[in-house]
């Protein structure tokens, strides 16, 4: 094992899949010559050339639609959205077209493409460059939604996403890019299946189900809760939001009897609301206390450090939620 950054893990996954399959190509804004705004695709143009790494104009609708067209004849485009917020610029192509294409054609066509890019707050990018859109993506049938929290998971899941015959939204987080973690060296290939959650911390009092950067926040919160309050939290990393691996979550809740779902997208109509609802529908007997969800405050995301921190559902919010749940 070695230490690698989240960015490096994604870069390696892209490189390996491009080496493996000629039909994989990258398309997006500044992905080629510049190497991506966050340098995720750096050096790939040099290795694969301009026919595999395509710099586009700022035309999200068109290049998203082109990816769909190319995918219907078996190419495997990996589309970078510079900010996941631009999903909303390309929304017709993503939700009216890509998500529905297989279904509308009665299964005659498949759409093997990946839409990837970073989302989330914490860097003071403000309302139009900090949103988390996992819940939005998950709302539409026909798109897989993946949001890994560690370099190891990012690499293994992205490789799987590229090989999947369905459209996959691969949601990175700007706060994760420079985090480090252990991963096998490049020559040791591994894949992680979509739809498998992973218990990142074992505990007995309460289950926190999280993903993406909130997973790291949950782990930190769990540490503090243990040290300062003697509460033992089990932290389940959902890793993929669609499909949602409720089985792993219920296994944990069977042990703890308590469930808190945490994510950075809005709590309202969010993944956490879904998970909590399913807990009451599918596993009500496991719950020994009301299940809860925690998400971004229902405001557009402000720029000021102080205000942004207030709105984000991070460590302190998680601790407060857990303590409140323990009191009841």
């Amino acid at each position: 094992m070695r230490r690698t950054t989240y960015i490096q893990a994604i870069n390696e996954a892209l490189r390996e899949e491009m080496q493996r399959d000629e039909d994989v190509f990258l398309i997006g804004e500044d992905v080629g010559h510049y190497g991506g705004l966050f340098r995720v695709t750096r050096n790939l143009l040099d290795e694969f050339g301009e026919k595999r790494v395509l710099d586009t104009p700022i035309s999200e609708q068109a290049f998203m639609g082109m990816a769909l067209g190319a995918a219907t004849v078996g190419m495997r485009p990996v589309v970078e959205l510079m900010y996941m917020d631009f999903t909303l610029v390309a929304a017709d192509q993503i939700f009216n077209q890509i998500a529905k294409y297989r279904y509308m054609t009665g299964g005659l066509l498949k759409v093997p493409l990946v839409i990837r890019g970073q989302q989330g707050g914490g860097k003071r990018y403000g309302s139009q460059h900090s949103q988390s859109l996992d819940s939005l993506y998950a709302h539409f049938p026909g798109i897989r939604v993946v949001a890994p929290a560690t370099p190891y998971d990012a690499k293994g899941l992205l490789k799987t996403a590229i090989r999947d015959d369905n459209p996959v939204a691969f949601l990175e987080h700007k706060m994760l890019y420079f985090t480090r973690g252990e991963a096998p060296p490049p020559e040791e290939e591994y894949l992680i299946p979509l739809g498998k959650a992973d218990v990142k911390r074992v505990g007995k009092d309460l289950t926190i189900a999280a993903f993406s950067f909130c997973l790291l926040q949950a782990l930190e919160a769990a540490e503090t809760l243990k040290d300062k309050h003697g509460i033992s939290c089990e932290v389940v990393d959902l890793r993929t939001v669609e499909p949602l691996d409720t089985e792993t979550v219920w296994e944990s809740v069977a042990k703890t009897g308590r469930l808190l779902a945490v994510h950075e997208s809005y709590a309202n109509c969010g993944v956490g609301a879904e998970l909590v609802a399913r807990a009451y529908e599918e596993a009500p007997d496991l719950l020994r206390a009301p299940a809860r969800r925690l998400g971004m405050a229902p405001v557009s995301i402000p720029v000021s450090r102080v205000l942004e921190e207030e709105a984000l559902p991070w460590k302190e919010e998680i601790i407060a939620s857990v303590l409140d749940m323990e009191r009841r």
């Binding site: 067209g69 190319a70 509308m104």
Partner: protein, 375 residues
């Protein structure tokens, strides 16, 4: 600026100030796109070389045109009877655009089109019985009744999908052309859309990318002079929409879309340009929708005389005239008409007898390799 009088008159083109078309080999006729619908540029000057097509091919094209026309009429009748739900847009009057193009392209080429796409589907070889079944939502529809009228598709014929959202299919064709280019293939993609699509942003994004990357792509605009229920002169900032793509450095030509030979020539030339790496071409085929925008359209936006006047220029009339000039008798034409009539009757019967899909079908085809949402 046009006066409101223009709307009520709507019969002459004299008061329309024209932009001067740029000098280019593929210049359009230099005449307004007849937004007032009075004149079609059928015989107007164009530098496009239009070779005469063999009579046998014209006869096949005529048979196809009648097939499309009669299927559309049968579908309208079925809609009247309540057999078809939702929005159904027929291509009555548009036939030549699809047929001329289909004959000009090769097997292996790709096509995407708008929700007014029945004629493309049939011209590309789709079976009318299964097409009608699809529109009716029956199990023998090619998409098992999930796509319906607005989503004709047949990948084995290169028909990669009609679309319910105006202009959304244009980047899909650009992506198909991109795949061809990246793989070093000779395939060309063509995308059909209406005049209304010119005012969607994605159309212009696609013009720019296709032209910049010299994609093997043909943009084919079927300009029927109405964006749904609104005449184009109410919405377009310029008279001749074939001038828009020129801003992107694209070859662009305005033709009579009701004449299969002219369409065939224009698409052949565009395909040649696409295949030799010279990039995309925009073709504005002037045409006219003889039926409503959709089944049930009240058609309050145009006088019946306007539609009547177009009968002289519509594709079947044009084809009959051509065939007459080639010595094909009226009896021979009538024989084709009768054969097709019978063929469409059988197609309708096939569709009506096709069973409803099993309810379990609802949950299939959401994801490849699985049967449900996976949730």
């Amino acid at each position: 600026m046009k006066s409101a009088d223009h709307a009520s008159e709507a019969t002459t083109t004299d008061d329309v100030a024209l932009p001067a078309p740029a000098e280019a080999k593929t210049d359009g006729p230099g005449h307004p796109a007849s937004i007032t619908t009075d004149v079609l540029p059928s015989d107007s000057a164009t530098e496009l070389v239009v070779p005469a097509l063999p009579t046998d091919m014209l006869l096949e094209m005529y048979r196809m045109a009648v097939t499309i026309r009669l299927m559309e009429e049968a579908l309208l009748a079925a809609a009247e009877e309540g057999q078809i739900g939702g929005a159904m847009h027929t291509a009555i009057g548009h036939e030549a655009n699809a047929i001329g193009a289909a004959y000009a392209l090769r097997p292996g080429d790709y096509v995407t089109c708008t929700y007014r796409g029945h004629h493309h589907g049939l011209a590309w070889g789709m079976n009318p019985g299964r097409a009608i079944a699809e529109v009716m939502g029956r199990s023998d529809g090619f998409a098992k009744g999930k796509g319906g009228s607005m989503h004709f598709v047949s990948p084995e014929l290169g028909m990669m999908g009609a679309n319910g959202i105006v202009a959304a299919q244009a980047p899909h064709a650009a992506g198909l052309a991109l795949a061809s280019y990246l793989r070093g293939e000779e395939r060309v993609a063509i995308t059909f859309f209406g005049d209304g699509a010119l005012f969607q942003g994605v159309m212009h994004e696609t013009f720019n990318m296709a032209a910049k990357w010299k994609l093997p792509l043909i943009f084919y605009c079927e300009n029927n002079r109405y964006s749904e229920m609104t005449p184009i002169w109410r919405t377009s900032s310029i008279e001749d929409i074939f001038l828009f793509p020129r801003a992107y450095g694209m070859a662009s030509v305005q033709i009579d879309g009701n004449d299969v030979e002219i369409v065939h020539a224009a698409v052949s030339e565009a395909a040649e340009r696409a295949r030799d790496g010279s990039g995309p071409t925009f073709i504005e085929g002037i045409t006219y929708r003889l039926a409503g925008h959709m089944a049930g359209d009240l058609e309050t936006y145009r006088p019946p005389e306007e539609v009547e006047k177009q009968q002289a220029y519509e594709p079947l009339t044009v084809l009959r005239r051509k065939l007459g000039a080639r010595g094909i008798s009226e009896d021979q034409i009538a024989e084709i008409d009768e054969e097709v009539d019978e063929y469409i009757d059988e197609a309708v019967a096939f569709a009506e007898n096709s069973p409803w899909p099993d309810r379990s079908e609802t949950y299939l085809d959401v994801f490849a390799g699985s049967t449900s949402s996976g949730g």
